[in-house]
């Protein structure tokens, strides 16, 4: 998982021209290559999961290309500008969230979209990046571990957007936004006594939100998670079918485009949130473990880059982006395999859907700017 393994590999040496280009573009080679591999695997899986739809594949590849462009462009931005833009992005994101709250379009019963006339997008996506960046900005000049007052400010900075998004209702995104901010605080060296007391607080908060915050369908999901058979037609259906798909895949899988659960449309949302089950059915345990290892490499490499960064802001921000990505992967695979309740979190780079992929790539672009770039400039 370290940089040396790849640096010394033959691939790297034969691609010196490419490597130089990557360096000139301030991109981290191993991470860039790993991301492209994830994207390629994702597209192959999506083709099967979408019932061999070329249209969907094309759309996904377009988005991946768009994400790559966003990543490369953001990697060129000097870290100082990113740092100074962080609080601005947070305020802007909050204003947009409020705008959505009052006049957003309602799609699929949830109020998440803002129509700007030429494009519709979810402001909550901005918050996935703005919250961790703003938290890192807030902490970068303060002594660490953070003082109690700083923690209170951070709690507001994370809590307000999280609650607004949870009310939209979009539990998955609000979870990721909270995780992004929370990771910054943890990485900043939050004392263990606070960690313990937050865990202690979670119990009453969970009870409170159960009664006042969660929508009925969200409660239903939690209840069904605890006992999928209680509601085999509704939300339990997803869990049961995805476990059948994964389990029947066995070690080697049924073969590409041959998953009967997925191809006969027994598996719901197979091209979006439940795409991991398609991999499991068609490629078996081997395929799934390969994908998980690929993801773990991306996360590990990103964490390593974060640890080598030279200033507090870069470390905290990129560390949080790396760990948020980990949360993505864990929550999605956990829910598809029945370890976690069903919350709407896609599998990054594999699930069909646009905004999340572009946001993720943008996040990696920022990470590369903060880490890869400094190495070059300072030496």
């Amino acid at each position: 998982m370290s940089i040396d393994t790849i640096d010394s590999s033959r691939t790297q040496r034969t691609l010196t021209g490419t490597a130089q280009l990557l360096l000139a573009l301030h991109l981290d080679g191993p991470l860039f290559i790993a991301l492209c591999m994830v994207g390629a695997v994702g597209s192959i899986v999506l083709f099967s999961a979408s019932g061999s739809s070329l249209d969907m594949l094309e759309a996904q590849l377009m988005r991946f290309a768009l994400g790559l462009i966003a990543m490369i462009m953001l990697a060129q931005v000097p870290p100082r500008i990113i740092r100074n833009a962080a609080p601005v992005a947070w305020v802007l994101g909050l204003l947009l969230l409020l705008a959505v709250m009052f006049q957003g379009d309602i799609a699929m019963g949830a109020q998440r979209w803002l129509d700007l006339g030429f494009v519709r997008f979810q402001p909550s996506e901005i918050m996935k990046l703005a919250v961790p960046l703003a938290c890192a900005w807030f902490l970068h000049e303060r002594p660490l571990p953070p003082s109690f007052t700083s923690l209170l400010v951070l709690a507001l900075g994370i809590g307000i957007p999280t609650l607004i998004i949870a009310e939209q209702p979009d539990l998955g995104t609000s979870l990721l936004v909270a995780a992004g901010g929370g990771m910054v605080v943890l990485l900043a060296g939050l004392q263990f006594k606070y960690i313990l007391s937050v865990v202690g607080l979670l119990v009453p908060v969970a009870i409170g939100s159960w009664h006042f915050l969660l929508h009925d369908y969200q409660k239903q999901r939690v209840l069904t998670f605890l006992d999928p058979q209680s509601d085999p037609l509704g939300s339990g259906y997803h869990i049961i079918q995805s476990q059948i798909a994964i389990g029947s895949g066995g070690v080697f899988g049924k073969g590409y485009l041959n998953g009967s659960q997925a191809q006969l449309e027994f598996l719901p949302e197979r091209s979006t949130d439940f795409i991991f089950a398609v991999v499991g059915e068609e490629w078996g345990l081997i395929g799934l473990v390969t994908i998980i290892l690929l993801f773990m490499f991306v996360i590990g490499r990103a964490l390593y880059l974060a640890a080598t960064a030279h200033d507090t802001f870069s470390r905290l921000a990129s560390g949080s982006l790396a760990l948020t990505f980990c949360v993505y992967v864990f929550v999605n695979t956990g829910m598809v395999t029945g370890l976690l309740p069903v919350v709407g979190v896609p599998l990054p780079f594999v699930s069909y859907g646009g905004t999340a992929m572009v946001t993720l790539m943008a996040g990696f672009g920022i990470l590369m700017s903060l880490c890869a770039k400094r190495k070059l400039v300072s030496r």
Binding site: G109, E141, R142, P143, L144, P145, M183, L186, L187, A188, G189, D216, Y217, Q220, Q229, D231, P232, L233, G234, Q243, I244, A245, I246, G247, S248, G249, G250, V251, S260, Q261, L264, E265, F266, P268, G280, E281, L285, L288, V289, I292, F295, M296, I299, G300, L303, A306, A307, T312, R315, L316, G319, L323, C326, V329, F330, T333, G334, T337, G338, L339
Partner: protein, 652 residues
């Protein structure tokens, strides 16, 4: 500054970060390890189990819709039931070409070509293995016609299902409401998981308001299907594992409506645009709830064709319109007993104060007189006689003395100008004006001012004031029970079909109107008793020979304003839609009231006493008397020519 200023230590921070990053990496490995071990569990350990479920025969889950709860009248007469019927269902994943199939079915004449886009939209939202109904309630001819061509349409099947059936058709449709196909809006409101296999949901009235009680819980059964998705019956080791969860039927509702009374009221109002409500003053039970003309709710359960729908919505008499809770009318003189109570509460008069009525009221400083309905006037009247004769001049006077804001505050204690809170949706609030209201209601400054003249017509229930028939019945019931107020309700009890247990709902008592002296009720009720019984009572004709004692109050609501200098015109001279509305409120028996009614007949051929009062009488008779008593009462009537009471002008 007692505390030391903490200084940023970059080296220590970098170390701290590294330490945290390592912890995070370890946690990540643990989390992913958890996922992988879960995968091993699913894909290696339980492989055989899941492979069984998935390979060869697959298990499909089919929803079993629950039986919708019945709706019964207070004595158990069924008003809404479930009847077996055949419907055409299409399963998407079994149909090769949906367009061709639908067009083919349209050519056979089973569905309308114009409906195909709607059906396709509905199909899009369903899971590919759901059997989606595309035509409900097939006739026997249609069933036969499809059966003959069934081989042409794989994936389309006829299935027996239960649909909603209203055996009494139009009767009490506005109270019961109806069911119709689940719409996009319904899907947002309902938990659609519970509606798998269900096509209909409550759209209005009790069917809508008590949807959660009526619907029940969907059940499911697992079916073995082959690779094409067809269900196969197989006896094997897997068949034993097939699960079946029985649906839970919805609960039955006992309404408060008394069907005998309801139908008598419907009969009496037939042919009119009118409404009648009867309430039990002791608990708020709605005994009759009639709005005419009505419509057949069975049409909605079956699915209306476009012409049928247009015929309903474009009918000028508006059969879909629920006049009982949504019709607002000037209450006219029916508010006079409440006005009397309001005046006594404020202390502007005593019951004994006598006013000499000369047929017109003049306000100091205003030349225009307010006329009484009776040109010559009523002579000396005290409060009780003022109610009995419906003397306008008396009420003009006390309204002027009370002021509109006291009237507003007092009458709202009877539920005027507020929602009564009946347990079905859509109730209108009516209008109980006040100075505050006028300020808000008008844009122009000049119009916002409340003039003393505005108050005077409020005294006889005219002017800005209006109310729903339900509000009038509710207020009358409140007077009948001397201030005991109950939220009107249509559902009396709920029966759990599984256990057979009937749980009675408790009446909801509302705050009583304030009275200075309980004897005020005697005056108001006494006045209403005299309306129906005293020689000078306006409605004595309609209450003659009753075996029980009736108290009532008539009212006439102007639709067409008669200019002050114009002579009163006969009702017959006006175009039908400009004729006055006839109102009557009543309760009986006076000593221990069991029923209070309000009748409103739009553009009636006669006034409140002449036209609406006999309808009220018929409702009271039906509810209070047994058939034998009715016959006895009939016999008391003189066999002399049943000369209808001379057409009297109602009170203005």
């Amino acid at each position: 500054m007692a505390r030391a200023v903490r200084i940023k230590d970059h080296h220590a921070e970098s170390q701290l970060f590294e330490q945290r990053a390592i912890i995070a990496a370890v946690l990540m490995v643990i989390a992913m390890g958890l996922v992988i071990s879960r995968l091993v569990w699913l894909q290696v350990v339980k492989y055989d189990y899941f492979a069984d479920l998935s390979q060869g025969n697959r298990i499909r889950i089919e929803p079993i819709p629950p039986n919708r709860g019945l709706i019964l009248d207070r004595n158990g007469v069924p008003l809404a039931t479930n009847a077996p019927s055949y419907q055409l269902e299409l399963t998407k994943e079994q149909v090769q070409d949906i367009d061709a199939t639908l067009n083919g079915i349209a050519e056979v004449g089973l569905i309308d070509k114009d409906n195909i886009p709607t059906i396709k939209r509905d199909l899009r939202g369903r899971r590919s293995f759901d059997a989606v109904p595309i035509k409900l309630q097939l006739t026997e001819v249609e069933v036969a016609r499809f059966a003959a061509r069934r081989h042409q349409f794989p994936g389309v099947e006829i299935r027996p299902r239960l649909t909603r059936y209203y055996p009494l058709a139009e009767s009490s449709v506005h109270a019961i409401g109806y069911v119709g196909a689940i719409s996009e809006d319904d899907k947002k409101r309902l938990n659609i998981d519970e509606y798998a296999g269900t096509t209909l949901t409550g759209k209005n009235g009790v069917e809508y308001a008590y949807e959660a009680q009526l619907h029940g819980k969907a059940g499911m059964q697992q079916l073995l299907v082959n690779a094409q998705g067809r269900s196969v019956e197989r006896i094997g080791n897997e068949a034993a594992k097939l699960e079946r969860k029985e649906p839970v039927s919805g609960n039955d509702l006992f309404l408060t409506i008394d069907m005998r009374t309801q139908q008598a009221a419907e009969e009496a109002l037939r042919g009119q645009r009118a409404s009648a409500v009867a309430i039990d003053p002791n608990n708020g039970d709605v005994l009759a709830f009639v709005s005419t003309p009505a419509f057949d709710p069975n049409l909605f359960a079956r699915g209306l064709t476009r012409p049928e729908y247009l015929a309903l919505t474009e009918n000028p008499d508006r059969p879909m319109f629920d006049r009982v809770i949504r019709g607002v009318y000037p209450p006219g003189s029916t508010v006079k007993p409440m006005m009397a109570l309001a005046a006594l509460d404020k202390g502007v008069v005593t019951p004994e104060n006598t006013v000499y009525c000369r047929g017109a009221y003049r306000m100091p400083g205003v030349s225009r007189p307010w006329r009484d309905w009776k040109p010559g006037g009523h002579g000396p009247v005290d409060m009780r006689k003022a109610i009995a004769t419906s003397c306008d001049v008396y009420f003009y006077g006390i309204a002027n003395e009370m002021g509109v804001d006291h009237i507003h505050d007092y009458l709202s204690q009877f539920g005027m100008g507020t929602l009564t809170g009946i347990d079905i949706p859509g109730e209108k609030i009516g209008l109980l004006p006040s100075t505050e209201w006028k300020k808000k209601a008008f844009r122009r400054k000049e119009a916002q001012m409340w003039f003393p003249g505005d108050t005077i017509s409020i005294g006889i229930g005219q002017g800005y004031m209006n109310a729903t028939p339900l509000q009038l019945a509710h207020a009358t019931a409140t007077i009948a029970s001397r201030g005991h107020r109950f939220k009107p309700r249509l559902v009396r009890a709920i029966r759990n079909v599984t256990t057979g247990e009937v749980s009675e709902l408790k009446p909801a008592e509302l705050p009583s109107p304030h009275v200075q002296d309980p004897r005020a009720w005697d005056i108001a009720i006494g006045g209403m008793y005299d309306v129906a019984n005293a020689p000078y009572g306006t409605a004595r004709g309609a209450t003659a020979n009753a075996l029980y004692k009736i108290a009532g109050k008539s009212g006439t609501a102007q639709v067409f304003t008669v200019a002050a200098n114009e002579k009163m015109r006969k009702a017959g001279d006006l175009a039908e839609h400009l004729r006055d509305h006839a109102l009557f409120v009543a309760f009986a028996p006076v000593e221990a009231p069991r029923i209070a009614v309000a009748i409103v007949v739009e553009n009636a051929p006669g006034g409140g006493s002449a036209f609406a009062a006999p309808i009220a009488r018929r409702i009271l008779d039906t509810y209070l008397l047994t058939p034998e008593q009715l016959a006895e009462q009939e016999a008391k009537k003189k066999p002399a020519p049943a000369a209808a009471p001379p057409p009297r002008r109602g009170e203005e």
